[in-house]
Amino acid sequence: MGTKNITKSKSVILWHLLEKRNWAILTSVILIVTVFILPLLLEVEINESIIMVGLVEIFIIGFFSTLLDFNYLHETRKFGYYLSKPYSKVQRLNMTLLINILFSGCFIFVLWLLSVAMVKGTTQFFLPFTGVYITILFLIGLSSVLSGNTLIAAIATWYNFAIPLMILGVMYFAVDILSEFAVGFSTSALMDYIVSEYYRMDIIYFEYFYDVMHPMLIFAYLIPLLTGIYLITLWALKRRKNERIGDHLVFRGYQYFVAMIASLIIPFIFTNLMPDGSIVTKLIAFVLLASITYYVAIVILEKSFKIKKQQMVVLAVFLAVFILFVLILGVAVKQHENNIPDREDISAVIITNSSWFYDPVKEKDYQLNDINADMGYLDDVMVLKSEEGINAIRKLHQSIVENPSYYSYVNFNVIYELKNGHKTRRYFHLEPYDSTINFTLDEIANQFQKIEEYRYQRTPLAYNEMYQNKFVNQSM
């Protein structure tokens, strides 16, 4: 029985693979024209860009070919026909993926051979490209199972591909609201940290692998990624409500997910365009925009202007959970950010209003998280280690926590370097708020002028001998 099944599977795969001959002819013609004939006519050598064009063509053709092969999931008649055959849903899914991977794989391989033979040194983007490409093919499979029509499956593929990016947007939005709660809290600082340390977008989207050329690394990432997508697809396939074929989305849960993500992304975009407002204004704007976006998303997905009670409950619960999450996080962050480290714990303080730094001597650039008090001179970085310098910063911090309202717009970062080796960072954004302007800040700022190390760094031409020498040398 098992051998019979394998033979049958092989025959079916071979049959469908042979059906790809028209697609293969089309792809071959396009590649021959664009990669061989046109460069020949234009007397241009086959270079990296031409190979890339060929890969993009394979990508586009493969995308549509796979999408159309999964079309049986979106037509009642077609679905009824294929599913009534003794060839399971899972077998058909596997076969469709396999055929399209083989189909595109052959052309990618031919281009790779060409690249090796004619354009030495261009082969490094083949592996990351193939990684992205296979991921997209798997996502087409998943999106086709989740969707009830092919056009929506195409959109859902890119939507699913962009989910990590959208989650980043949602995180940024939540954190941005937090910045209204806590003086000294920096949205960009936290997000930069998260993105560089934990939520590695460069790895998620394969950008990292263009720089780090190691096939094993790509496989180490690609295999669990594809396994994950495949397992979700299998799970969805088994629970699919096939009677909903023809609807935009077959799964209610996925429909809510799409509507909820949209209801966060749109307010995020709009609140970024809006002038700064208070936390209450921001939250009201968020609730209004999120509700409207959710409703519009549901109308589009359900193809009906009627909204069901369950859909409203989902929105209400979702908004309540999101706001509660932001508020709880806000209180926690506020407690942390308002906390000024004890004097005896601090070894140095760094002040800067940049987030990117360049060291002309080492010809290297740094992010805010990379710098420390012992790095030597960097433009726009002030390092205070003296008793009076550290105390002045702590006094400034305390004063801003009590009242961040100032008559002009000022942004700057303060990094406390602690004796235990840790760093704690604050971001201050001063502007005229409704509360009374904090003129004490001017007094504290004036006190800085009396601190020697501040003067030394602030006006190096007057106080820093090394800087003077450099300036004189450059003038000569």
Partner: protein, 298 residues
């Protein structure tokens, strides 16, 4: 052969199947009849695992239809036909041969000749009737032990329909084919079905062998002199009672002999005649008893 127990299915808030219980015997022809939109196609799609039930069990040869091994024993022709793009009937037969181990080239060729199908033509270019013939040929040529035919004869001319029934009868007699067929052509089903399931609003309101069904429900016409009293008893149920001129027409379920005795006791009977009902009449009277199609048009 096919056993359905407590099958339930709802499409959102719309309950399409409500506790369906059905039994299709081996080597029998089972006619699934019912009002429009009553759930015939939905039942077939459940048997083919195209839809997943909300509750209930479907068994094929005593086994739950969980795996798909049984699928190579059943061929399903859906109401809304589909043929792969650009396939001729020969292409499709060659494709389907991979799935049905008993598929017969000889039967396929014989049927092509019998129905005079143009094997050069792409299936998508055929007329509705020709497409149905092609689907029917492929179904029979697969030589599966069970066929599910959904509205297969709808839209066909009388000659082709006759050919269809001839082939079906021949297959049933030759190789014990089990057939589940849904159709609105009740007169034709009347002649070939062994069993009938009458479906209405998602429920099987009647499932019986054709023989018992016809024995159980009768049409009686009689005339009485003078005052008329309609007999009543637990042994029979009067589904319909109409007076046309001086003749009473009664559709009766149950003991017709007792009804005759009671009628003679209560009335001076001038004329009494018991008639066998056709499937169509039984269908109308069964659904009429449930309030379906009783509206009068003035």
């Amino acid at each position: 052969m096919i056993e359905i127990k407590g099958l339930k299915k709802a499409f959102d808030d719309n309950h399409v199947l409500i506790d369906i219980n059905m039994h299709v015997g081996e080597g029998k022809i089972y006619g699934l009849v019912g009002s429009n939109g009553c759930g015939k196609t939905t039942i077939m799609k459940h048997i083919m695992s195209i839809y997943a039930p909300d509750a209930g069990k479907i068994m094929y040869q005593g086994q739950s239809i969980f795996g798909r091994e049984y699928m190579s024993s059943i061929y399903y022709v859906q109401d809304d036909l589909f043929f792969p793009f650009n396939y001729t009937i020969n292409d499709l037969f060659n494709y389907e041969k991979m799935f049905y181990p008993n598929a017969s080239e000889a039967v396929f060729n014989k049927l092509k000749t019998y129905f005079k199908v143009d094997e050069q033509k792409k299936l998508r270019t055929l007329s509705k009737g020709q497409k149905r013939q092609a689907a029917f040929i492929l179904a029979i040529a697969s030589q599966t032990e069970t066929l599910l035919l959904d509205e297969i004869v709808d839209g066909l001319d009388a000659v082709v329909r006759k050919k269809f029934w001839q082939v079906i009868m021949s297959e049933v007699m030759d190789r014990k084919l089990t057939l589940l067929i849904s159709s609105h052509a009740l007169t034709e089903l009347d002649n070939i079905c062994d069993q009938v399931g009458i479906l209405h609003e998602g429920k099987i309101v009647k499932e019986e062998s054709m023989e018992i069904l016809k024995e159980e429900t009768k049409r009686i016409q009689y005339a009485v002199k003078g005052d008329y009293t309609l007999p009543k008893s637990d042994a029979y149920e009067i589904l319909q009672d109409k007076l046309i001129g001086k003749v009473h027409f009664v559709v009766l379920k149950g003991d017709a002999d007792l009804f005759e005795t009671d009628l003679y006791e209560l009335n001076e009977v001038l004329l009494f005649e018991v008639l066998t009902m056709s499937l169509e009449e039984i269908f109308i009277s069964e659904l009429g008893g449930l309030g379906y199609g009783n509206e009068e048009y003035n």
